[in-house]
Amino acid sequence: MHPIAHEPAAEAGLLVDHLFRHQHAPILGALVRMLGSAHLGLAEECVQDAFLRALQTWPFHGIPPNPAAWLTLVAKRRALDQLRRAVVSGSGEPSSPPAQPPTLGDDTLELIFLCCHPALPIDSQLALTLRSVAGLSTSEIARAYLLPEVTIAQRIVRAKKLISESNLSFDVPFDAHLAPRLHSVCRVLYLMFNEGYSASSGDRLLREELCHEAIRLVALLTLNPATGRPAVHALAALFCLQSARLPARVDDAGDLLTLASQDRALWDSRLTAAGFHHLAHAAAGNELTPWHLEAEIASLHSLAPTFDSTDWPRIADAYEALSALQPSPVVTLAHAVALSYAATPEAALALLAPLADEPALARYHLYPAILADLYARRGDTVAARTQLERALALAPTTPERNLLVRRLASLL
């Protein structure tokens, strides 16, 4: 008996980061194409089985030379078994769907479109996309959103049931119907990104993972000729430019840093470059979406080497355009901040005056926090302190409260 001297695959350390998770969508997409979208649940079981077999056999036998192909093969075999069993038992289910030409030519994209089908409730679209496309477990999704696991599970079950009952097709219409479907997909990705990016609560690493996943998926959309439209590039630009700042948003103690106090050297230049690449493609054509404006704002922050050199007048203009296109109290708040630097804190306060009784802002801690900043900058310390106390009472997370406490202390 000779000892095993070396393991070629193990020696090379060949398990690409996120291989399993990133293989989830293409394998699942291929299986849904085989089994039909009514059998999304069954297809998922087959993918999970393949991963489980890898988990159980690779430790003993080593990693196969092509792990991704191995996983795909095992999952497909499993799906074929299911098909064969259904035929033998005569249940007719799952039935092999009639062969149709792929419309987008990419199973992963078709899967995204199915999960983001506008016939599903938006909550379910998001949960299903995270589960089936991003390959997150229900418990990971629950942790990222600070929701009970059972809630997430219910949303996913409801979505699958609707897909099956409504007989939603896996094939994406490759015509005039594509635009609304694409919009629905983009909306889900936007929600996914924002949930990850807004530092409100939840597991920080998982939330950053949501951002990266949204970037990965939107990048897939930009690469396909049918879906790589300017608005999609605008969305990609926004995601890249925003997430480039993620590494600088917390200090070593885990405390939040505002844009003014971030070390800009920590911004991810690779993501910034990708953002500007997408921004250039977003400018093709004459469509102007809110994502275009948000990406433009993010790019103006990226271009400023220091906080003081920020081009606030252009940012204020972009927020004004955004307010016109998609009015919301939160956009007005951001507009006011930009205006306070582009013009004066007084101008900003004037812009915010009509929002005093806005119910949407009544429990939004950033509203009093921004008011406090404006008052402080015009020297009204008493009013600033009052607003900071209000903000402190509303702030949802410890890092956010700590930030407010520090600002309160600086006003003493």
Partner: protein, 116 residues
């Protein structure tokens, strides 16, 4: 060098609900452990035993009964084994101690009786 078998016991279904990412991390840990043991010249082999099937045979009153098993109950079953060589039980224990399986189940070590 003496030869030992490490029998890895686990509860069926222990990994059923974890995410692909978590699975990959666990696989990576096992592969790293296996590579490390192999690099030190201790690894002789190993195999996964097929899940969810098996036969248990018993003789009673001169009759052999064969039943499906041992998966009938939800108890721990042997999931697979590693075959290693080591100087002593102490060293075999040290090798098994670092195995990621210790996070998921039980390892039983038995020395192989070698007759020359």
């Amino acid at each position: 060098m003496k030869q030992y078998f490490l029998f890895l016991y686990e509860s069926p279904g222990a990994f059923d609900t974890i995410s692909p990412e978590e699975m990959q991390k666990i696989v990576a840990r096992y592969i790293a452990w296996r590579g490390d043991v192999a690099a030190k010249g201790h690894m002789l082999g190993g195999n996964k035993l097929r899940d969810g099937e098996g036969r248990v045979m018993r003789a009673a009153d001169g009759k052999v009964s064969v039943t499906d098993g041992p998966f009938a109950e939800n108890k721990e079953v042997i999931a697979g084994y590693f075959h290693i060589q080591a100087e002593s039980y102490d060293q075999a224990v040290d090798i098994a101690r670092t195995c990621p399986h210790m996070d998921f189940g039980v390892i039983e070590i038995r020395e192989m009786e070698i007759t020359h």
